[in-house]
């Protein structure tokens, strides 16, 4: 499940920046903020194209792993609680695979150029 802040919050903030400071001011500070804004828009763009499928798969895995029904936020919270309680560990069949798949899907949206993500993809043979 893609983390907060939500894409709509990010896009609202970008739009306010583009309508406000970006039209009034210039200089290195604004150039930097513009690059950050472009990066933010790209995160949202990838989320729109990639997250629906990834999150549907995540939900299916969670239902199988937890033997429970519910939406993604509910089951994700449940998973977190069961790991905290020690009921699920890396030895639990399916948990490591689920966390790897979920984490890589998140990174594909958030920061696909992150060095740790690239290294993980290489180590895991492009799964």
């Amino acid at each position: 499940m893609q983390d907060e802040p939500r894409a709509d919050e990010i896009l609202t903030r970008v739009a306010n920046f583009l309508k406000g400071p970006a039209t009034r001011e210039s200089g290195p500070h604004i150039s930097f903020q513009l690059r950050v804004a472009a990066n933010a828009v790209e995160i949202c763009q990838r989320q729109l194209t990639l997250a629906p499928k990834a999150e549907a798969e995540e939900l299916a895995r969670l239902r199988a792993l937890l033997l429970a029904d519910g939406d993604l936020p509910t089951l994700n919270r449940e998973l977190a609680m069961r790991i905290r309680a020690g009921e699920l560990t890396l030895e639990t069949p399916g948990l490591a695979d689920h966390l790897w798949a979920t984490t890589l899907a998140k990174l594909a949206v958030d920061q696909p150029n992150y060095s740790g993500y690239r290294a993980a993809l290489a180590e895991r043979g492009g799964q």
């Binding site: 983390d3 907060e4 802040p5 919050e9 990010i10 903030r13 970008v14 306010n16 920046f17 406000g20 903020q33 950050v36 804004a37 990066n39 933010a40 995160i43 936020p73 994700n76 919270r77 998973l79 977190a80 609680m81 790991i83 905290r84 020690g86 560990t89 890396l90 490591a96 966390l99 790897w100 979920t102 984490t103 890589l104 998140k106 990174l107 958030d110 920061q111 992150y114 060095s115 740790g116 993500y117 690239r118 290294a119 993980a120 180590e123």
Partner: protein, 351 residues
């Protein structure tokens, strides 16, 4: 993270810029506290952060001008520290710098600690150390190609000297061992009220792999990493940013510099993107540091990844309260630390 109340002190002087005010007051400081000086010139603000401002200026002297740095509270504010402050405050930082300088570690020399009469807020003046701090340049620029293979060992030697600093005369610093630090991190994470199964796994792992308290608690820098070090062609010339200094487990510093964000993309060189762990540990032990237990070093590396991840995730309230896009993007980088943690805990093992 910070709960400080601030009162502006640069005063009502609408016709003058902050630079003019700082220059004028620095000139008085020079006259009163730097015998033989003829004033100041080239007063320039380098950064304006949320917790401090950094200014550079030249102290004019008959035998040659000397570049100096002023670190002070933003706008010359008077900051009241509270029990929940995680950073130590600039006066304490100045005292620590003096102790570490005396112990022979490379740090800027403190030249003057501001007093209320100086009218510049809280802070201190230190020598300017020339060099490069940008981590990406340290790991890639050809300028550092020759010295790069020696940097990890050198960092180990410097950490041994920092950790050997006598603390009997140190200002009161927080004592924070592994258990306290995990607890602090846990409460920051839980305050985000957002489930992160990978972070939960890391907390479980840390709880199960907690090292025993160190034989002797040491002065710990708390943020010793590529990005907080000044380098030149001879290697590390200064260690900066002491605001997270505390008394605790020295291995914390050896783990933190290995966490992936400080490798600046050079994943296969765990120490700051420029060297191997063994080089860091060998340098540390050769310079008198306690023997490095590899399992404990790994504990602190995992702790470091989780710490950075929780810090990123903790940006969300500030994002929602302000108008910055950047904070939102930083919050979305928490997932980077999740992939790092998965590689450490459920991958092929450490690089």
């Amino acid at each position: 993270m910070e709960r400080e109340r601030a009162m502006a002190s640069d005063g009502a002087a609408p016709s003058r810029t902050p630079g003019e005010i700082v220059a004028e007051r620095l000139a008085v400081v020079a006259q009163q506290h730097f015998p033989g000086s003829r004033g100041v010139a080239k007063v320039t603000r380098l950064t304006a952060g949320a917790t401090q401002e950094i200014w550079r200026f030249d102290l004019l002297q008959a035998d040659g001008d000397q570049p100096l740095i002023l670190r002070r509270t933003p706008g010359g504010a008077v900051v009241e520290r509270t029990a929940t402050s995680t950073s130590i405050g600039l006066e304490t930082e100045a005292e620590i710098l003096r102790l570490v300088f005396a112990a022979g570690a490379p740090v800027p020399e403190v030249r003057h600690v501001l007093t209320p009469d100086d009218g510049l807020g809280q802070g201190f003046i230190m020598t300017f150390v020339a060099g490069e701090t940008l981590g990406g340049r340290i790991v890639r620029d050809p300028r550092f190609a020759e010295v790069r293979p020696r940097l990890a060992r050198q960092c180990g030697e410097i950490l041994a000297r920092i950790h050997a600093t006598p603390t009997e005369n140190a200002p009161p610093l927080k004592h924070a061992g592994a258990a306290e630090l995990i607890e602090q991190l846990q409460s920051s994470y839980q305050a985000t009220d957002w489930p992160r199964p990978v972070f939960e796994l890391a907390f479980r792992w840390l709880g199960a792999h907690m090292p025993p308290p160190p034989t002797r608690p040491r002065l710990v820098h708390g943020d010793f990493r590529n990005g907080n070090l000044i380098f030149d062609e001879t290697g590390v010339v200064a260690v900066l940013d002491w605001e997270l200094a505390h008394i605790g487990d020295p291995m914390a510093d050896l783990g933190w510099i290995c966490t992936n964000p400080w490798r600046f993309g050079v994943v296969d060189k765990p120490v700051g993107g420029f060297g191997q762990r063994e080089e860091l540990w060998n340098g540390y032990e050769a310079a008198g540091g306690d023997p490095v237990n590899r399992a404990h070093a790994l504990f602190w590396e995992v702790f470091g990844s989780l710490r950075w991840g929780v810090m990123c995730a903790g940006m969300i309230p500030a994002f929602r309260a302000g108008d910055s896009v950047e904070r939102g993007v930083i919050a979305r980088r928490a997932s980077e630390n999740e992939v790092d943690l998965m590689r450490l805990l459920a991958g092929k093992g450490a690089d």
